[in-house]
Every structure is written in structure tokens, then in C-alpha cells.
Symmetry: C2
Subunit: 275 residues, 2 copies
Amino acid sequence: MTEGSLSHLVVKIGGGDGLDLDGICDDLAQMAKQGTRLVVVHGGSAETNRVAEQLGHPAEFVTSVSGFTSRRTDRRTLEIFQMVYCGQINKGLVERLQQRGVNALGLSGLDGRLWAGPRKAAIRIVKDGRRMVLRDDYTGKVEQVNVKLLHDLLDSGYFPVIAPPAISYDGEAINVDGDRAAARTAAALECDTLVILSNVPGLLADFPDESSLISAIPSDRVAEFIAVAQDRMKKKVLGAQEALSWGVKRVVLADGRVERPIQRALEGAGTVIGD
Amino acid sequence: MTEGSLSHLVVKIGGGDGLDLDGICDDLAQMAKQGTRLVVVHGGSAETNRVAEQLGHPAEFVTSVSGFTSRRTDRRTLEIFQMVYCGQINKGLVERLQQRGVNALGLSGLDGRLWAGPRKAAIRIVKDGRRMVLRDDYTGKVEQVNVKLLHDLLDSGYFPVIAPPAISYDGEAINVDGDRAAARTAAALECDTLVILSNVPGLLADFPDESSLISAIPSDRVAEFIAVAQDRMKKKVLGAQEALSWGVKRVVLADGRVERPIQRALEGAGTVIGD
């Protein structure tokens, strides 16, 4: 980061159960009032699973040949996903921040082409030990961040709160991984640090034993730890690896269930990945 | 409107069944590309009713002592309302516009305090012939529009697509009537015209007989026609009355099921209220 430029911080709020959203918003509001230029990216996975079940279109997860799990996203799933992420969770966070005196403004990656990237033409998965190819899935990845939109909003005093989906180069809504999208956003804003909050204290060597927290991972050993990570944590470590490769200096996987979760993460609580 | 200032148009897209959202977005995209500074406000009532039913919290409607119908909005209803309005419908419109080459950006009234106003402390209703007071309802009205945010977005080439809820002066999400919010928005943007699209050709003297369309209502007779209007149309005429009182010259209640619905409305198809 060049001397004198403004420092930004991206905070990813996980979509698992148990995060203390009020506590997180207390912390965010305090930091915003102290002048940190904050951008929030959030998930909504657990609630999406519940709503999908209630709406009679239960969630399915697929495992790629490289071992990563992702949500099977047909068109109806995409609609439900948008309802929960862009409607319920995004506006719930905006309301909490507004009540704390912060002028939050919620967007999805579709809005203003904030997060653009390719839709995957095919997903190679493993199901019951057999390889299969899915072609009708609405998933993809973020390659481009509309940084000008974020800067304009921050310059005008707004606090951006961003949810998936992103937008494909053909203008379709696409499900993208929130951790990796947060990594891309942190890199685009030239952040020194990305904080990823979830409902565990960080990366655990022996999941779910919370006393097995791995407190630090040096940049050159991140790949090994992708193999150690279980389930959803795998993509968080992958997101961290990507963020570091794009110039972010430090990614902290931290606990979103505690008081002052972000300030604690910045003080080093959790799994600090990078320098 | 002062000579030389930019001309804006607010289009309200109703939330009833049967509107041709693709046709509406074709028309909007064409007009946007021709340079009209457009702002869309949309509803989502019919879909909210369906989703609320599926989620086991069916919609309830109450009738005020002055004869207007509105959605009973307890906290759970507000969540469902946000899912449908801000998630499904808003992002569905943004995606359609993006696919037509328009850089749409969806917001709720919460975002950036775009629509602020008082929450009603009490709603006086009539139920089974008896008067009652509701005190735990999350409804209110829009009094202030963040016009600077809309101008900044329009100046940067974005196309704002706005959904209820609004934000109360205490920072709570509040359900507001979309037609009246559109009226307030059109007035704040100093629009000459507000177009309100629904699934009927306009105000019908003998609902649902579509041949009984009332083609014009002069400004000084709007109040009489609020009495003529049935159900949801009542608030559209009320919104029109408010828009006129705030300086909008003409409100067109028009058919959202036809081709080129907005350009047809501007040519006078539908019920033209005002000069």
C-alpha cells in the first residue's frame, strides 16, 4: 500500500449458525466511527438450507473432483439463495448497522456489476464414488470487483455490505463462494488484512476440538493446511491462499461468537495466515 | 422543473400476478439507453403471500378505519417481506436489466437511508365490524428520500431499482406502501410524470370489467375516485393524489401486461391523473 493512501478492511461474516451478529455489528460500528474504511461480505448458508427445506426444495451439496464441497445451484436454488442472502441476511445486517448509527448500504454482486466473473460451463463432481459432470449449475467465481463503486460509496460515507450472488459475464446471477469473493474484494481494495469470521475459533487441527486451534500458518505452507481443513473451512483456507497470492498480507480466520470479534482478530486471535 | 435540468422518470412495477416483467424490462432498457434518467420502484405482494404461506406464516390483511387495506406486518412477516422484495424480486429485476445491457443497482429503502420516515405507533383497524388498535406492527411511511444518493448513482451510470422496506427514524425496517413511496420518490426527483404499472389497464369504474377503464381524472377530482377504487387500487389513487400535491404533474396508472408498457403509458394509455 502506498504511503498516505487510505487503509481498508474487509470483514467476511460467515453464514453458519451461532455467530453473534449483534456483537459483530457493535464492533463494526465502533470501528467505522473511528474512521476505518470497512466493507462487509457475508454468507447465509445455514439459513438458506432451512428455508430451502421449508420451501420444498431442500439443499444438495456436491463435492468436486478436487475435494471441495459446494451448493448445487439450479435456478430455483438460486432464487431461494437470493431471498436469504440478499433479502433476509443482508437487510438484517444493514438494519443492525443503521441502528448503531452507521449508514450501511447493502448490495449483491449483481448490483452495479460489483462482482463479475465467469459462470462455470461444467462442474466435475464425484458422487457415490463415480465422476459426473453438471452443466446446468449457476455457479462461478468472482474475477472483477467494481472497486470504483466501493470507493464512491465509502467516500460518500456509506458502509457497503455485500452478499453473493455475483454476475456472470453473460449477465446471469451466479452463486459464488463468499470467502473467495471476500478475498478478491480485499485484494481489489489493496487491504493489508482480511478477517473471516465463522462459528469456530479458527482452523482446528482436530475438528471439532476447539483446543486444537492452529494459531499461525506461514504464507509458504498454506497449501498443506487446505488438506488439513474440513468441509467449509477448506474454502476459507483456499480463499486465504488466494488473498495472499493477490497481495493481501494477512488473513485471520477468527471466532464470530465472541465480543469484539474483529478487533480481537486484528490483535491476533484465531488462525493468522500470512506474515 | 427548471429549464435545462435533467428530466427523471419514476416507474412503479406492481407486485400482483400477471405483469410481464421481461416486457417491462425491455421497455426500461430501451428508454435508459435513449438517455432517460429512470428510477424503478417495485412491489412483490402476490409472491410474498405465496412464500409466507409456504413458510407457515400466512399473510394477514387489515383494513384501517379510513378504509385502506394493508399487510399485517409483525416481525416475522417483515423478514419474509424482505426475502421476497429485496431478495427474489429486486435481484430478479436487476438481473433482467443487466442482461439487457443496463447497469442496474438494487436497493431497499433501508440502504443508505434511501427512504426514511416514521413507524406508526398504532394502527386503528376495523375487524369483524369492531375497532381495534395494533401496536406491534412494523409499518410506516416515507417522508424523506435520499435524493443525493439517487443522483450520485444516476450520474455514475447506474439504474436504481428500489424495494420496500423503508427505514424508520429509529433505524427499524418498516413496511411502506410501494405506490406511495414511488409518489414520494417521483416528487423528490421533481418528475413531471410517475407511471404506476399493475395487472389491470388502469382504474376501472366497474372492477374487474376492463372495458370500464376511466381514461382521465382531473387533479381536482382525485379524492372522489379514491372512493371509486377497489382494494389495492385505492392506494394507487391515493399515491397519485399525494404525488400531485407534491408537484408531480401527471400520474399514469397503466397496464403492465402489454408490450412497451411504459412508452404506451407516456402516450396516454391507462388512467391519466392530473393535467
